[in-house]
């Protein structure tokens, strides 16, 4: 135990460890807040779909050899999020099929582009780190950390400010619209914020594991609590705990950060299910 603390203290001296912890916790917090709404709206897989879109966009950016790929990636992802979340019920292609097509399509096109116009010598390494986010969280710059802090603050503020409206629109969109709430506007806001958080989260866990950050805290919280407010609070707390614990374990044990965080989430989900089952008996 003493050795572990000593080792942690030693690592703590490095700024990249502090950065990783700050960014990891904030991204997990944002993803979990949105996750409660997304899971209840039956959009659990949107994280996966949009992160693949972001992957495709990154491939395009690297083919065009852009220095700063952020604006392109963000705008393409936001556009797709709006298409998915705001299309509503009257579309020809329903929600889950639309996400599946977009997700696989973007992944395939992205990989194809990277393969055909490859500029890097280690292609599979590049693809792997984009998908699993293996190292980029440990190579964050100070600007990226600040950007992440500001964006998270905006997300948390928006969620707090519109909390009751988010509840109303999530619970019953047609009632909300009938009483004069701009349900379409809030769906648009949700789509944009979701896209931003997902692009942010790609640095942390990579495309493949973002769905875990969105769904696990919300689902774990729903095992334990029965009101919307306590589910939201609990999901946020669980997300922060899992991200912090995951990153620390990953540093100590030398495991990949993204997968370690998800492993902690799975463990906690199991515990919450067990606890919920025991309480309800």
């Amino acid at each position: 135990m003493d050795m572990m603390i000593e080792k942690l203290a030693q690592y703590w001296a490095y700024p990249f460890v502090q950065y990783a912890l700050v960014v990891g916790v904030l991204v997990a917090l944002c993803a979990s807040l949105l996750g409660v709404t997304l899971v209840l709206k039956r959009f659990s897989f949107i994280g996966d779909g949009l992160s693949h879109v972001a992957f495709g966009a990154m491939a395009i950016a690297s083919v065009l050899s852009l220095n700063n790929d952020m604006p392109l990636v963000l705008s393409i992802t936001v556009l797709c999020a709006i298409l998915l979340l705001c299309a509503g019920q009257n579309t020809k292609i329903k929600g889950d099929a639309a996400i599946a097509m977009l997700s696989v399509g973007a992944l395939a096109i992205g990989y194809l582009l990277m393969n055909v116009f490859s500029t890097s010598s280690n292609l599979s390494g590049d693809v792997c780190s984009t998908l699993f986010g293996s190292t980029s969280i440990l190579t964050l710059t100070k600007t990226e950390v600040w950007l992440c802090v500001v964006l998270s603050a905006v997300v948390v503020f928006l969620y707090f400010f519109f909390y009751h409206k988010i509840f109303s629109v999530t619970f019953d969109e047609s009632f909300a619209a009938a009483t004069g709430i701009r349900a379409k506007g809030y769906n648009l806001l949700l789509a944009v914020v979701t896209a931003v958080v997902i692009v942010m989260a790609m640095n942390l866990v990579g495309s493949l594991l973002i769905s875990a950050l969105v769904t696990f805290p919300a689902m774990s919280a729903m095992r334990l609590f029965r009101s919307f407010r306590s589910v939201t609070l609990c999901a946020a707390l669980l997300a922060v705990f899992c991200a912090a614990a995951g990153i620390l374990i990953a540093i100590l044990a030398g495991t990949p950060v993204g997968s370690t965080i998800v492993a902690v989430e799975i463990l906690l989900f199991g515990l919450c299910s067990l606890l919920g089952w025991a309480v309800r008996r």
């Binding site: 209840l40 009632f175 009938a178 009483t179 004069g180």
Partner: protein, 240 residues
């Protein structure tokens, strides 16, 4: 006092489902909207609520009623069945339309939600989880939410769908009480012709032959309805 006046209404999304629909709703009326599936009942309701623009004609409100002050009881969605929310949270969300951009509820709005739950005999369950209630109790909670938004008028979209006969009868009685004792104007879409003939004051029948008039006029114009209802058969299917 005329509360809703529909003149020369043509309804539909791209092509008109029906044309030249005229009817008026007065304060304290209990109007049942009957008709086959696909006749345009829900489209009419969306048009009244202002969610859909009429293709032709107009819906005008009088007597201080505004489109976003109509209490609306939509059909339940799949999402709601496993939604983690307390009865209190659901009922309070009926006040959301009054809030504008204000992020929190005022004390008066919380009091209104409390009273609405009490009127539905649900006050003792306000801490319970919505998804753990029975179908009839869930409809009462949604009705309490609608009462928070309503000042004078309630619009109900097939409120008894999926309820057992006892729960349906109780819900009809609650609605009738709101109409009689509180003077709430009721507009109800229904498949249940026998209940419509028992409780409604006016009938709007949508179909190839549109009918609008009082219940007595409807029975006179369609003597067959009452006979068939008395034999216990339902005129229309119950599923959508």
């Amino acid at each position: 006092m005329i509360q809703i006046n529909c003149q020369g209404l043509a309804l539909g999304y791209h092509s008109a489902l029906m044309r030249d629909l005229n009817f008026t709703v007065h304060a304290g009326d209990y109007l049942c909207i009957l008709g086959e599936n696909g006749a345009g009942k829900s489209t009419l309701m969306k048009t009244i609520l202002g969610l859909l623009a009429p293709l032709e004609g107009s819906v005008t409100f009088g007597d201080g009623v505004r489109a976003n002050e109509i209490g609306y009881l939509p059909q339940q969605t799949q999402t709601q069945r496993d939604f983690p929310a307390t009865v209190w949270e659901v009922a309070l969300s009926g006040c959301q339309g009054r809030c504008g951009l204000r992020p929190f509820y005022t004390r008066a709005e919380k009091e209104l939600a409390r009273q609405s739950l009490a009127r539905m005999d649900m006050a003792h369950l306000s801490g319970r989880c919505y998804r753990e209630l029975s179908g009839g109790q869930q409809q009462r909670v949604l009705l309490a939410r609608a009462l928070c938004a309503a000042r004078k008028m309630l619009l109900l979209d097939e409120p008894v769908t999926g309820l057992d006969p006892t729960a349906s009868r109780e819900l009809y009685q609650v609605i009738a009480r709101l109409n009689k004792e509180d003077g709430m104007t009721i507009l109800m879409i229904s498949h249940d012709t026998s209940a419509a003939l028992r409780y409604a004051s006016h009938i709007l029948y949508l179909g190839e032959q549109v009918f609008f008039g009082t219940r007595e006029e409807f029975i006179q114009a369609n003597p067959g309805y009452r006979d068939r209802e008395l034999k216990g058969g339902s005129l229309h299917g119950h599923d959508d």
